[in-house]
Amino acid sequence: MTAPQLQLIGISKGFPGVQALSDVQFDLKAGEIHALMGENGAGKSTLIKILCGAQPPDSGQILIDGAAVSIGSPVVAGELGISPVHQELSLEPYLSIAENIFLGRQPVNRLGFIDRRQMLTAAREVLGELGVDLDPSAIVGRLSIAERQVVAIARAVSTCARFMIFDEPTSSLTRRESDLLLQMIRRLRDQGVGIIYISHRMEEIFELCDRVTVLRDGKFVATRDVASITLDDLVRMIVGRSIAAAAPRRQTKTGDVVLEVRGLSKRGLLKDISFDLHRGEILGLSGLVGAGRTELARALFGDLVPERGEIRINGERVDIRTPRQAIAAGIGLVPEDRKEEGLVLAQSVMANIGMPQLNLFSRLGVISARRERDLAERYVQDLAIRTPSVDQNAMYLSGGNQQRVVIAKWLATKPKILIVDEPTRGVDIGAKAELHALLRDLAADGMAILMISSDMPEVLAVSDRILVMHQGRLAGELSAENATQEAVMSFAMGLGARI
């Protein structure tokens, strides 16, 4: 293979109180996809920031084509051909696709005005190169997350980037969308672009990448050819120990029916949904994005009022029209987006845990600070939430710990039913396994859990039973024993029990 075109040697970077990177090396060749892996906090993001000129390293060298360069700013990085495709997409929602692609570099006519026609043509060309069929005049705010990602990629491609960085590009995508994206990335590689690929999804690494570099606690662990290692090797490199293989599912002995849903409908979103949820059961809810899974969760939780249908809890019909009533009826919801919906980031862990049931430790509306603290401290300990104290603002916690805080706040309400929507999105592999174990423990203690997830291995590994939604309907039900990825996908795509 060719010599490395981009080389990082002995990179170190410290922040007050923590050494984010120490003596890390990395290299990237033209036409390769190089995975960068490590748990949250391993130093991946810091390394990428250094590469993109967002932060200077404390020491170390960056070479491009063998010559030392200094990447003082994102602009310089762009000039050197380094282009990040951001995780938190930095697109302008009110502008068109074409305008976003050429933002700041719009083609102009002789009078110095933006040449709209030329811009649209050029945009169409770039999109065509990527093999997607999108109208370049469409407004970005109306696109799906997957489509926005395509726009971000198109922007990078249009700058003739030599090195592209993908940070968790598939974390919010469905399987099918991910496949399209991966195809696009392969195409870029074949055109000679060097690609750094960050993802927590193991199967993608093996499917897509040529080499992998692992960081742990800010230190370089190893660079390997993906073909020469096994999944176990990789996991061991990342966490520095082996994770017990997903614990064999306990013999499903689920109890009485806790939740009965009959004929739940809401125009355009939910069509005649009926199912039962048992005590001690983890019921997986799968389906493509937009199939109505989140809407179903919202309807059960009173945040979306259905037009028809009834809900029974322990055999009694309940009328749930607000989240407040849902909480009183014994339902908890761990929402899809923990930062926007689950937590008040600027408040303490304690305030977040206490939020759904302040009246429990209040008298005449006055909150007992001591009881709120006791409750929070108990759950921080029970769920092993890593935080210096319950007074720490939730924003300073890692993703996995933030998710634990959201779960803690619902456990504290002692719910009969816990709905979890994408419980492990964006958390690292170690934390993910711990969250799965936590869900299993809760179910073993008798909690009825409805788990929505786009992460297929997660659905298969954790659920006792799987429901699949397609276009607002329940398209199929699978027991844990018969469930395969193919069977679930077949239902999710509306093909029925074909396989």
Binding site: F15, P16, G17, V18, A20, N40, G41, G43, K44, S45, T46, K49, Q87, R216, D217, G240, R241, F301, D303, T322, P323, R324, A326, I327, A328, L333, P335, E340, E341, G342, L343, V344, L345, A346, Q347, S348, A351, M355, P356, L358, N359, S362, G365, V366, I367, A369, A384, R386, T387, P388, S389, D391, Q392, M395, Y396, L397, S398, G399, N401, K409
Partner: protein, 338 residues
């Protein structure tokens, strides 16, 4: 993302998670909160020291009490504004309400109602305006700034037409006591009302469910809603409280002067926001408190007082206020970004 990378709480200790509770300042947050954002307090101390050097009169107890007395009315309005600001909303109609409440009170007296009834009418007019503000803003989702600005115009016009643009005089002699009376012969009732309200509201904000809900309304309404907090009714109450306190101010002001005009609250809509933000309450909601607002209004009062003592022309007084406010707004934005 970076905050995760440098998060010191996530140390590589394997499965162990027994991180000892840090001896950080976190635990002592509640009482030190008003001091956390030191800018206004530092500004106040600097001003007081400068004032003492520049003027012989400034540091006399009589003058300091005078400053408190002068700012107490704006102060009460600012407390309501502070609560609303915490929910990331504004009330631009407080100026109109100050005028209206005074006029309604005096008109009630002219029409033969007793002392308490007339005050009740005055307060009621304010509460009603607050209810309108709240319902309009919350039901339509319209911009609170613009809605209350429009309501301010309406309220002011109503006040003008009620008085036919004349000055009205209170008819009940005891009414005077509220605005001019002093405890122990030196502490004005309005100052006591202001400080007591500030302390009481701080308690409500920090220690009660509605108070907690106010902060969540300003920080993350979705999370609050999904946690079952009563956001709508709490936000509505904040609007009603804000207008109610403006009405109280109008009544005390009328009592102090024994007369009132429709424009008596002129400028208070902006001054109250300036005072609240100066004290350290964020324009973007969720950060601040009413104790801070005491510092904010006192800073404004000290600046005014000093400029008067030093015989600075009134145009320059406005310039000083404008510059102080600009500095504070810029500091607030910078703080929010960091």
């Amino acid at each position: 993302m970076n905050s995760q990378e440098v998060d010191p709480s996530r140390r590589p200790e394997g499965p162990s998670n027994k991180v000892p509770p840090a001896k950080s300042g976190g635990r002592r947050r509640h009482w030190s909160e008003p001091l956390r954002n030191h800018t206004a307090l530092v500004l106040l101390i600097v001003l007081v020291i400068a004032g003492g050097m520049l003027s012989d009169v400034f540091l006399t107890p009589r003058n300091l009490l005078n400053i408190l007395w002068a700012v107490s009315l704006l102060g009460i309005v600012s407390l309501g504004q502070t609560v609303l600001l915490l929910t990331a909303r504004f009330d631009m109609s407080v100026a109109g309400v100050v005028g209206l409440a005074g006029i309604v009170t005096v008109l009630a007296q002219i029409n033969g109602f007793g002392l308490f009834a007339s005050i009740g009418f005055g307060l009621g007019s304010g509460l009603l305006v607050g209810l309108c503000n709240g319902v309009l803003v919350l039901a339509t989702g319209a911009n609170p700034f613009l809605v209350t600005l429009a309501v301010n115009l309406l309220v002011y016009s109503l006040a003008l037409s009620l008085t036919q643009s004349k000055t009205l005089y209170a008819t009940i002699p005891e009414f005077n006591l509220l605005g001019r009376g002093q405890l122990f012969g030196f502490l004005h009732y309005s100052v006591i009302v202001f400080l007591a309200l500030a302390a009481g509201l701080q308690f409500v904000l920090r220690r009660t469910i509605p108070g907690r809900t106010i902060y969540v309304a300003g920080l993350n309404e979705v999370a609050g809603r999904l946690s079952g907090l009563r956001l709508q009714i709490t936000k509505l109450s904040a609007f009603v409280l804000c207008s109610g306190l403006a009405a109280l101010t109008g009544i005390i002001m009328t009592s102090r002067l024994n007369s009132t005009v429709a424009s008596s609250g002129f400028g208070m809509e902006f001054d109250s926001i300036i005072a609240a933000v100066l004290g350290g309450t964020s324009l973007f909601g969720g950060r601040g408190g009413t104790l801070r607002t005491i510092v904010g209004v006192v800073v404004l009062g000290v600046i005014n007082n000093l400029l008067v003592l030093l015989n600075v022309p009134s145009e320059a007084q406005q310039i000083a206020k404008g510059l102080v406010f600009l500095a504070v707004v810029l500091a607030d934005s910078a703080l929010r970004r960091s």
